[in-house]
Symmetry: C2
Subunit: 438 residues, 2 copies
C-alpha cells in the first residue's frame, strides 16, 4: 500500500506457452496488478532454450541468460519464475540455487514439487524467502490458496477431484461420441488436449503429482508422491461408459486423499483412479479439460473449486497471483505449516474400506461362465446389487458382463477377482471401478 | 513460524449461532489452527445480550463485558470479532471504535460492510490494522479471498452467482415439490431455512449486500450498495417453474455484476434478480441452501466457488480463516486495493444490453388477448422464439401465456410491457425473467 515501494523484479526461466502467457498477462493487466500488488511487477531477465524463436511476445527489453541458473545470481532479481518443467535436472538445480541465494521462487512444476517440495520448502523457510506453486495444481483454480488459507480453520476430512484435464477431456468425449479410448486419445492429441507422449496424463501420474501436493497442504502431512496408488484410464472402453450411463453414472479420473487416525498414528490414503460418479454429484457435470477440487472440512462442509485446469491464460493467472502475494508480502510457510511440523504419515492399506464397485468382465460366450463369476463373488462375500450381461456382437465374440456390488469391504472384491484369476472363462482381466461415495 | 509468538487474543461480540460456532471451532481444531497460524488463537473476552443463556459452550473462562463497545478498549485484545449484525447501531459503533483503537476487526456483517465498508476500510488502512469479512459473503466459501487474491492477476469481466441460501432453498424446493411460493416459504421457516421476517432474503437485499462487496473487490470499485437493482423471488409461481423446466431451465436468484468501459468512464451494473438458468449451466445443479460464485477473468477464464452459504460451521470456518490470516500477518488492503485508489463508478443503465427473456402473462380467457400481446411485442421490436398458452384450470379462471424471446435489447422488452400496461386483458402484472447468458 506504500506507493513508493520499488517494483518486484522477476526473472522467467522457460518461455513456452505459460511463460509467454505470463509476459502477456503482466503487460495486459499492468494497471490492476500494480494496484493490487501495491507496486509494479517487472520482468528483468529471461532464459529459454532458443533466443530467436518467435513466441509472439517481445523479449528485447529483458536481460537474457543462456544458462538459466544464472538467473538465480542476478543481483537485480527478487523472484525467479521457473516454467521449465521436469522433476529434476535444470529446473531443480535452478530452484535450489534460487532459494539458496535468498530469492523467492514461483513455479508451475508439479513434478518437482511432488518429488522435492519438502526440501525446497525447507530451504525457503530457512532463508525466510517465498516459495509458491499455485500454478502447479489445477491451472487457474486458486486451490493451493483455497486449501492453504481458505479452509485453514478446518480439519479436512477428504480432498478429491478431477485434476487432469487431458483425462477428463478424453472421458467426456468418449461419453459424447461413443468412441473408444484409442481413437479419442488420437483426436485429443490432434486438437492439443493431449501430449504426443501422453503417458503422464493418461496413466494418472500428473494427477498423482497434484494430489500429493494438495494432500500435504490439506492434511499437514509430508508430501508422499511415491505412495499415491495410481491407475490410469487406458482400460476404459466405450462399453464401460455406456454401462455407467445406463446405471446413472459418468466415469471420471478421480484423485482422492484422506487420513485415518488409529493407535498406530495417522495414515494417509492417496489414490488416483477412474471412478463411477453419480450424475447427481457436483463432479459429474465437470467435462472437457475442466478441473475441480472438493475439500470437505469438519466445519466448512463441502467446498468445490472449479475452473480451467491448464492452458496459457489460466496457468499464467495462477503464476501472477503468486507474484502479487509476494509483492504484498502475504506469504508464509509454503505448505501451510513449517516442514518441521508436517507429519510423516504411513500409507494406508485400504482393504477394509467399504464401498460399492462396478466390475466389468469380458468373458467367452459359453455356458457356465456366469455361474463361475457369481460363485466367486459369493465365496468372497461380495453381494451383487445389479448385473447386466450384454449379448455378443457376433459369432465367437466376447461377451460383456457388468455388475455393481452392494457396499462392502474393498478386499472382498479383490479376493473375488483373485479367485477368478487364471480362469479360461475370462478373455481379459476384469475392470474394477469404484463408485465415488457421495 | 516463530514458535515463540504470543497468542492472537480475540474478543467476540455476539454469541448466537455463529459466535458459539467460532468458540466450538477454536476448541475442536486448536492444534491445526495453531500449526497453521504459527501461534494459538485465544478468546479472552466476550459480550452478548444475555449472560445466562445456555449456548452449549462454556463461557466461564472468558472475560465478560455487558457493553460490547468495551471490548474495543480491552488492553489484552488484538482482534475484535463482530457477530452482532445490523448495518448500523451497536455493530457499527463497535467496528469503528475497534479500528480507531488500532485493533483488528473480523466481521460476518454483510449489511455493515455493504453500507459502511469504505469508511471502515479507510479507518483500518489509516492505522494499518486488519479488517476482514470473509464470513460476510457466501458463508464458508472463501470467495472474498478468491476474488481478492485468487483472481488478483485478472481483469474480471463478470461476477455472478447464487448468494442467498434461503431463496435457493425455496426455489429448489418449489422445483422438487411443485408447491407454490407461499407454502414453500412457510415450510422453509418451519425448518429454519428462512427467518421469521424473511424480507431481507426473499426480496434479494441480502444477496445485494454480498454482491456489492464482491463487485468492489473484483472490479476495484467503491462499494455501491444503493445502486444494486434488486428484485426478489416472491412473484415466482409453481407454473413459472414448470414452464422453465419444460423449456430446459431452472429458476435461480442470480446476483450479477459487470463493468462497461466507455468515454464517460467505467460504469458498474449490479443486479439481483430471478433468472432462468439453463440446466447445462454449472449453476443449475446448485440446490438447497448452497451458494456458488462464478468469476470470469480475462486470463483465468471461468472460476466457480461453491459451498455452504450459511450455518454455524461454515460461517465459523470463514471467521477463523480470517483470524488465521491475521495471526500469520498475511493481511493487506481490506478491499484488495486501498480505498483511495478505488474507482467511483456510475451505475449503468442496462437498456441496451442484449439477452433472451422469459415473459409470463396472466390473462383473461377471451378472444383477442394473444393478438394484443403479440402486437405489443411486434411494435416494440421483440422477436418471440417460443410461446406457450396453457389452458385455464376452470371456467372463468385466468390463462397463462409464457414466452421466450429471441436475443434483443432489454429496453424493447420493457417497452412491450409498457405498451400493455393498463390493458384489461392482463389480470396481473407480467413477470419478466432474464435468461442467464452462458
Amino acid at each position: 500500500m506504500n506507493e513508493t515501494l520499488p517494483p518486484l523484479r522477476i526473472a522467467l526461466a522457460g518461455i513456452g506457452t505459460v511463460g509467454a502467457g505470463v509476459i502477456r498477462l503482466l503487460e495486459a493487466n499492468r494497471d490492476v496488478i500494480a494496484a493490487r500488488a501495491g507496486r509494479s511487477i517487472e520482468v528483468v531477465a529471461v532464459s529459454a532454450r532458443d533466443r530467436s524463436k518467435d513466441r509472439g511476445v517481445d523479449l528485447s527489453t529483458f536481460g537474457w541468460e543462456d544458462d538459466m541458473t544464472a538467473l538465480a545470481a542476478c543481483n537485480d532479481v527478487d523472484v525467479v519464475v521457473e516454467l521449465v518443467g521436469g522433476s529434476d535436472g535444470p529446473a531443480l538445480a535452478l530452484a535450489r540455487t534460487t532459494l539458496e541465494r535468498g530469492k523467492g521462487l514461483v513455479t508451475a512444476n508439479k513434478a518437482m514439487i511432488a518429488h522435492h517440495g519438502l526440501t525446497l520448502a525447507q530451504s525457503a523457510e530457512a532463508r525466510d524467502v517465498p516459495l509458491k506453486f499455485e500454478a502447479a495444481v489445477a491451472g487457474g483454480i486458486p486451490v493451493v490458496k483455497g486449501l492453504r488459507e481458505g479452509t485453514s480453520a478446518n480439519r479436512l476430512e477428504r480432498i478429491y477431484g478431477i485434476l487432469n484435464g487431458t483425462c477428463n477431456y478424453i472421458l467426456s468425449e468418449m461419453e459424447d461420441t461413443g468412441a473408444d479410448f484409442g481413437e479419442t486419445l488420437s483426436e485429443a492429441q490432434r486438437l492439443g488436449y493431449a501430449e504426443a507422449d501422453p503417458e503422464f496424463d493418461i496413466e494418472g501420474i500428473d494427477a498423482a503429482h497434484k494430489l500429493a501436493i494438495l494432500a500435504a497442504i490439506g492434511f499437514g502431512a509430508e508430501i508422499d508422491f511415491n505412495n499415491v496408488r495410481t491407475t490410469g484410464i487406458t482400460r476404459i472402453t466405450a462399453a464401460d461408459i455406456a454401462q455407467a450411463d445406463a446405471l446413472g453414472y459418468v466415469i471420471r479420473l478421480i484423485a482422492e486423499a484422506d487420513v485415518e487416525h488409529s493407535e498406530d498414528g495417522a495414515k494417509l490414503l492417496q489414490r488416483v483412479r477412474p471412478c463411477l460418479v453419480s450424475k447427481a454429484h457436483p463432479l459429474a457435470p465437470v467435462d472437457g479439460p475442466t478441473n475441480a477440487v472438493v475439500a470437505e472440512g469438519n466445519f466448512s462442509g463441502r467446498l468445490l473449486f472449479q475452473g480451467a485446469g491448464a492452458g496459457e491464460g489460466p496457468t499464467a493467472s495462477a503464476v501472477v497471483a503468486d507474484l502479487i502475494d509476494i509483492a504484498r508480502d502475504e506469504v508464509g510457510a509454503p505448505l501451510s505449516i513449517p516442514v518441521s511440523q508436517l507429519v510423516k504419515m504411513a500409507p494406508l492399506e485400504p482393504g477394509h474400506r467399504v464401498g460399492s464397485t462396478y466390475i466389468r468382465f469380458t468373458v467367452a460366450d459359453r455356458p457356465g461362465v456366469l455361474a463361475e463369476i457369481t460363485a466367486a463373488m459369493r465365496d468372497a462375500d461380495v453381494s451383487i446389487e445389479s448385473l447386466l450381461q450384454k449379448g455378443r456382437a457376433g459369432e465367437g465374440e466376447d461377451v460383456l458382463v457388468a455388475m455393481v456390488t452392494h457396499e462392502g469391504p474393498e478386499k472382498c472384491v479383490s479376493e473375488a477377482i483373485g479367485l477368478l484369476e487364471g480362469s479360461d472363462s475370462l478373455t481379459a482381466a476384469p475392470l474394477v471401478l469404484p463408485i465415488l461415495p457421495d
